[in-house]
Subunit: 623 residues, 2 copies
């Protein structure tokens, strides 16, 4: 534990001494910051000390070591404890510890892997750590077959999140005995007692019912904790939860089990530090991981994308499934996840070719995306697919994935009113807005099969959150097999020097725009048509040229007016350059059931509606 | 059951005959539509028959009868069964039944209360029915004290949704013995077997652990089902789940327990109808509810909003809590819900005054919003509050609330980078985008305490989803106590005939914009400042005037560039009228920890950044 750890591992007194130091450093960090969560750190200090000093296998010099255990602080607000542990392990020094929460510091209020290499995933939105941990444990167990463990330190309050139970179900179903949840049952949430307070049995009943092995311990009895972690490591066939009864603020009498102290530095930090025995200079030697090698073939072959005949009718969701299967053949690092709709999204086409890299997450979209985040953080290239509408269920997970800087592909099928009879509950109408607002995201919306196939392949190599939107019904193949679709580009499908305005469309409305343009052309009203398949980033050059040359952009989208293609177009003009007239056709109100064609008509985004809007604009508005 | 139901209630044969008719009508409706989910209807037909003929107390002539039981079809895709039941109850006729899924029909693919008065809430996004049912059961038990029951028919597949377990936890904790979940365990999801198939005990263990009374039955044995529903009605102190083992496609041999038939009309509907015994003309007499009166005082007094001194520093979250408490005093129909952060959102100020109308939902944002939907549908005016960032967790619930046409107030605190040290996980930076894209929503973002108080009161009387965004830190009081803030309006805070451009701000950036304007004024650069407190709808008139008079709008927001105030401004110009130059200052990338002032500076949305942007624009861009 110290530099001279005996071979048999640390003695209980050494655990206690380490825990004492973790507490002191937690109090010191929060005091230096003038904010933070010391009491939430104090409750879990003994758990952390035993884990760090005996059970964790981790090389802080090589955070990318494939054999490393993975530690996730799901209760991310207890970051002072995490940073105190990093300091005890020699990963950072005391000076840096005291930069906690200051501008420019790596030690943020809630930990993120953007700044610290030992943080597996950003936390701070409660109830997500276990879900991501399941993805990492799946990687170890089902893909890389490396015997690392995933340790997730959870709060008790966050067990109220449904996402935790999606994760619990998934972990048990997949027999993830390499996953351990340490639950810091300190009885107090931020505004008062949790629902179950110290009723450990309430949590034990639930977790056991979900198929977990459960050990209840006194979270301040280091020997008890040590035994529990040994038990977790030796339990086969199921994940283990260590339920630790703890006291919030433990070690500082005036703070112990007291309400009103959540998320605040201790009122008298100096006295607290003295009460805890003063600063320590312990340095713990964390066990090195065993040698491990990642054997996956990242690129095993040439990518042979599916080919489509021009003029054939193919749904872009079909092209997605076919392209993903092909991509999986070419690349051994591509994996796919399904939310129990793989027959609809066509992710099942990947499953047929690569069942070993396919993960069925059932109807649990938060878990679907969180597992993808976990796999992405372990180096895989995940594609998680469900209906676009149901990805809203995972909005917070997507948000946190972006905070993590995770690279992952999300695919939403059944976009827009074009799905037809199923009605509004199944229509993705806000997905573009949701994904555009994700920092550093990419948002793609193809209109035909070859374009879809190319974009499915291209998105694998981008950074951050990549989103692809697909359509339920068949659409004509417009593009030839050699056509390129750079991200950030667009395609001008019709253009002349006499264009009266420009119709900007994407996905299903591209075909409506082309039909409208053909009809208008017969009337002597030439219009330009742009296929804006890259909704973010947008093709600034093409849109600006269209604005300059035609003066007016008419956007048409199978999406809400807010946050979609109409707003995206503005991204091309937001530097102070002149803005053209912008008219937006989009879905308003709540549609009912109807055929796809009736839906497009009712929403005012079909060819006839576009042509009517153009006629009106040409007559009354544009020069 | 028929018009001549004997006094003792229907005999088992009558249940069976009704179930037979429900099956036939389900098959007929889907056949007429050419789409839909007959097999998912057939599995639950016996459950529905027994419920309808004996246990449900409901007056179809008076769907607003306060004593009515409430039935929620959580597995909304089984809508053919629901409509068949409505027909059997005489609520609609056979002709209308066969309009299923056609344009203009009230019988949508998934039921919504927008079109049918007997539908309690829109379903179709799985795993939400129980959550909303909890809200309705809370209304009956804790508020109105009317002994109606809430019956929720769930699928087995949807129990994988975490939202279901948030609801299960909430229901048991509140001892909602007026709530019954009927789970149609038909073993098959849409793409294949569910995780637990026919392992009823797996579900029973989980639900029991969560505190539910559980009865397992053969879902096709009407006597067994009848006994179970009696047991549910006579169970006190806890909610009951009736786990029914059923066969998907039951009654049509070629469809029974067969994969690949989900969501499709039966291949040979005529043969299926013949096999089921042909159409029936049963008319069931549904039990009338007992007399019941709603005693709540909707408006018990004069609204006395809190008053603030101009120049004082008050956080808008404080003003929200104070105004909500005052509103609760004036109106007996206002209720509040907390996601275990009431001390932060200040919803706790309402709790202190009106504890009987305050609902603690713990850290479960889907349940927080779904319970609010349930309360709204029972006539309450709910305010549900948590951090703006965590409302993303409930995005799908909000989306479905809009499909329902539910009227509810959502309040997101801790908006933007201005929260400071806690870092990106806690920053609401996409909430405006998310709520703007909700159909018929209202989005409000006040900058000071009096404005907040007025808007909190005003939003109670609006339609649809209303969202209010509040700020963590204190901001100066700008407005006097008599100032009005109409929804859809804005305030011009600085204006002159010589304005070089217009700064459009809201919330925290209003104060930055004013400081920038003062500095610029000293430099001889007058700018207009607009407080756009109503982000949706926007004040078209004021923005157009500003555009005409100053030529350029500079938007400044503590939010992502996509979907926020910068995009909202475009709503004022989307009818083809000339668009001014639009420049947007917003948050890009992923912030770290820093003080609030440092955050605003780093994001480029503080006074100095605004002034710098104006100088640049004035020098190089605007005339």
């Amino acid at each position: 534990m110290t530099e001279t750890t005996p071979r048999g591992g640390p003695a209980p007194d050494q655990f206690r001494e380490l825990a004492r130091q973790l507490r002191v450093d937690s109090v010191r960090a929060a005091a230096a910051a003038g904010s933070g969560h010391p009491t939430s750190s104090l409750s879990a200090a003994d758990l952390m000390a035993v884990l760090l000093a005996r059970h964790l296998q981790y090389d802080f010099q090589r955070p990318d070591h494939p054999g490393n255990d993975r530690f996730i602080l799901s209760k991310g607000h207890a970051s002072p404890l995490l940073y105190a542990a990093y300091k005890a392990a020699g990963a950072l020094d005391d000076e840096e510890l005291l930069t906690f929460r200051k501008q420019g510091s790596r030690l943020e209020g809630h930990p993120t892997p953007r700044r610290l290499p030992w943080v597996e995933v950003a936390t701070g939105s409660l109830g997500q750590g276990l879900a991501v941990g399941v993805g990492m444990a799946l990687s170890g167990k089902r893909l890389d077959r490396i015997p690392y463990r995933v340790w997730v330190l959870c709060g008790d309050g966050e067990l109220a999140e449904g996402a935790v139970w999606e994760a619990a179900e998934h972990a048990a179903y997949e027999h993830l005995d390499n996953l351990t949840a340490l639950v810091d049952v300190n009885r107090l949430g931020q505004r008062g007692p949790t629902r179950h307070e110290w009723d450990l049995d309430a949590y034990a009943r639930r977790l056991k019912a979900f198929g977990w092995h459960v050990v209840a311990v006194d979270g301040h009895d280091v020997e008890d904790v040590d035994r529990a972690l040994h038990e977790a490591r030796s339990t086969a066939g199921q994940p283990t939860a260590v339920l630790a009864r703890t006291v919030k603020g433990k070690g500082v009498a005036s703070a112990e089990d007291r309400e009103g102290l959540h998320g605040k530095p201790l009122p008298d930090a100096d006295a607290a530090i003295a009460e805890l025995g003063g600063p320590g200079r312990l340095r713990v030697t964390v066990q090195a991981p065993p040698a491990a090698r990642v054997l996956r073939a990242t690129r095993s072959g040439h990518l042979e994308l599916p080919r489509y005949e021009r003029g054939a009718e193919v749904a872009t969701r079909d092209a997605f499934g076919q392209a993903l299967a092909a991509l999986g053949t070419a690349r051994g690092d591509v994996v796919a996840l399904d939310g129990e709709v793989g027959d609809s999204t066509r992710a099942e086409l990947f499953a047929k070719e690569h069942p070993e890299r396919y993960f069925e997450c059932y109807i649990a979209e938060q878990q679907l995306v969180a597992a993808a985040v976990g796999l992405a953080r372990r180096g895989w290239v995940p594609y998680a697919a469900t209906f676009a509408a149901f990805l809203t269920r995972a909005h917070d997970v997507v948000r946190m994935a972006a905070v993590s800087g995770a690279d992952l592909n999300l695919v939403g099928s059944h976009a827009g009113v074009a799905i037809g009879q199923d009605g509004p509950s199944q229509m993705g109408l806000e997905d573009l807005a949701m994904f555009r607002a994700v920092p550093d995201s990419t948002v793609l919306y193809p209109c035909d099969a070859p374009q879809t196939a190319r974009l499915v392949a291209a998105m694998a190599d981008l950074d951050g959150v990549r989103y692809l939107r697909t359509t339920r019904g068949a659409t004509p193949v417009l593009y030839g097999p050699g056509e390129e679709f750079p991200v950030g580009g667009s395609k001008v499908l019709r253009s002349s020097g006499a264009d009266r305005l420009t119709v900007v469309a994407a996905g299903v409305t591209v075909h409506e725009a082309l039909a409208a343009a053909a009809a208008l052309d017969r009337e002597g009203v030439p219009v330009r048509v742009v296929d804006l398949y890259s909704v973010k980033p947008v093709d600034r050059r093409t849109l600006r040229a269209a604005a300059e040359q035609t003066g007016c952009l008419l956007t048409v989208e199978d999406h809400r007016q807010e946050g979609g293609i109409g707003d995206a177009v503005l991204d091309a003009f937001s530097d102070g350059s002149p803005v053209p007239r912008l008219v937006r056709l989009a879905v308003t109100g709540v549609p009912g059931s109807a055929s796809p064609a009736e839906q497009l008509r009712a929403a005012g985004i079909d060819a006839e509606s576009i042509a009517a809007a153009v006629r009106l604009l040409v007559e009354h508005v544009v020069r």
